[in-house]
């Protein structure tokens, strides 16, 4: 039983690392092809749907609102690990939700060394 759980844990770690590599790859591709960066990719809030005010938070689906609130509360940004710890969800799942919020223009992300920090888009 313990051995099986260990195997599941290893598999989850591998998946998590692969997702990290995909995110890094995505960042590198965007650096080389700046024309693919829309205003949302640059971290600028689009005219509609960008600003993460309370009414926008209320309009988000529950799973995204939960992630967005944690980032709003974090002074100085939060990593997917930190958000996952607060929401009690798997890191890979949380990373997906946070990137969805980035795509929607509500959050931006910045790399500091090996860590990626999510911030509220301004």
């Amino acid at each position: 039983m313990t051995a099986a759980l260990e195997k599941v844990k290893e598999a989850l770690n591998r998946i998590s690392s692969k997702i990290d590599r995909l995110i890094e790859m995505d960042e590198r591709i965007l650096q080389h092809f700046p024309e693919t960066r829309g205003p949302r990719r640059e971290g600028r809030a689009p005219e509609f749907g960008g600003a993460l005010d309370v009414m926008t938070l209320l309009s988000l689906p529950d799973h995204l609102r939960k992630s967005a609130m944690v980032v709003c509360e974090a002074n100085g940004g939060a990593t997917a690990d930190e958000v996952a710890e607060r929401t009690g969800r798997a890191r890979a799942v949380e990373s997906g939700y946070l990137n969805q919020l980035v795509m929607m223009g509500h959050l931006t992300k910045k790399r500091k060394g090996r860590r990626v920090y999510f911030h509220v888009a301004r």
Partner: protein, 266 residues
């Protein structure tokens, strides 16, 4: 760490401000450090209650803090000595001038986002740095930016309702669409209940309480009857201090005790 408590309702006139002010003073008299903030920018009322002498000297309002014009320390007025409370008692007033109200209701979404960020950060300042046991936010009724910002940044919301069906329906809607959406703890306080709805001393009060809890699926902090002498009282003074033995004051003391149970400070 202390708790941020927002006092909210679905409609105006339920007694939010009266309850916020009296509850805050009762908690401070009990030895808790309490900050009371007026976040009802459309209809500011705390300046009327606390304006005696201090009003002319108010330089900074809660409006200024939310707009980023000053830190919260400049807004809070220390009234510990004035009201002779055991714990510290600080008050932050909202600006009642027409210009200030107009400014607050015409801000854009970016500014509202900043206001939310400031309120979320305020919790740490009030509870950790200023060592408050309770920060009580008096909010505007219904779902609008200032009240939703207050609810989203608080730990627990006291939802004040009357037995009026319109109030109760509004509360039920807010419970599911607002408090649940933000995962916030909320408790019900029934105010202005018909005297016959309130049990007499020694009488079992489970009946209406249970009925309310079954209706709202939330703990009910208390049921306060409607008292004509409160409506006639001078609103520039604090009713609980002027009338310590009044049933309203006694009911609020019980409510303060229950609030500590549902949302205990350290």
């Amino acid at each position: 760490m202390g708790r941020v408590v927002s006092v909210h309702s679905s409609r105006g006139g339920t007694g939010k401000s009266l309850i916020s002010v009296n509850l805050a003073v009762i908690c401070a008299k009990r030895g808790r450090n309490v900050s009371l903030l007026d976040l009802d920018f459309r209809a500011p009322t705390l300046s009327t209650v606390f304006r005696e002498r201090e009003y002319r000297f108010v330089e900074h309002w809660t409006n200024d803090f939310l707009s980023g014009r000053c830190p919260i320390e400049k807004v809070m007025i220390d009234l510990t000595e004035k009201y002779d409370t055991k714990g510290r008692f600080l008050v932050g007033l909202a600006n009642p001038s027409l210009d200030a109200i107009r400014e607050m209701i015409t801000v854009d979404r970016e500014r509202e986002m900043e206001a939310l960020r400031r309120l979320l950060a305020l919790k740490r300042v009030l509870l950790d740095e200023m060592e408050m046991d309770y920060a009580i936010y008096d909010t505007s009724p219904g779902i609008q930016y200032s009240s939703v910002n207050a609810v989203a940044s608080s730990d627990v919301s006291v939802v004040v309702t009357t037995l009026d069906t319109l109030d109760a329906e509004g509360v039920r809607y807010m419970l599911s669409e607002l408090y649940d959406a933000f995962g916030k703890k909320s408790v019900i306080l029934v105010n202005k209940a018909f005297p016959e709805a309130h049990p007499r001393p020694g009488e079992k009060k489970e009946g209406l309480l249970q009925q309310m809890e079954a209706t709202f699926h939330r703990p009910v902090l208390g049921i306060i009857p409607c008292y004509c002498d409160i409506l006639q009282a001078d609103r520039t003074t604090i009713f609980a201090l002027e009338n310590p033995n009044h049933p309203f004051t006694r009911a609020l003391r019980d409510i303060a005790e229950r609030l500590e149970l549902v949302s205990p400070p350290p």
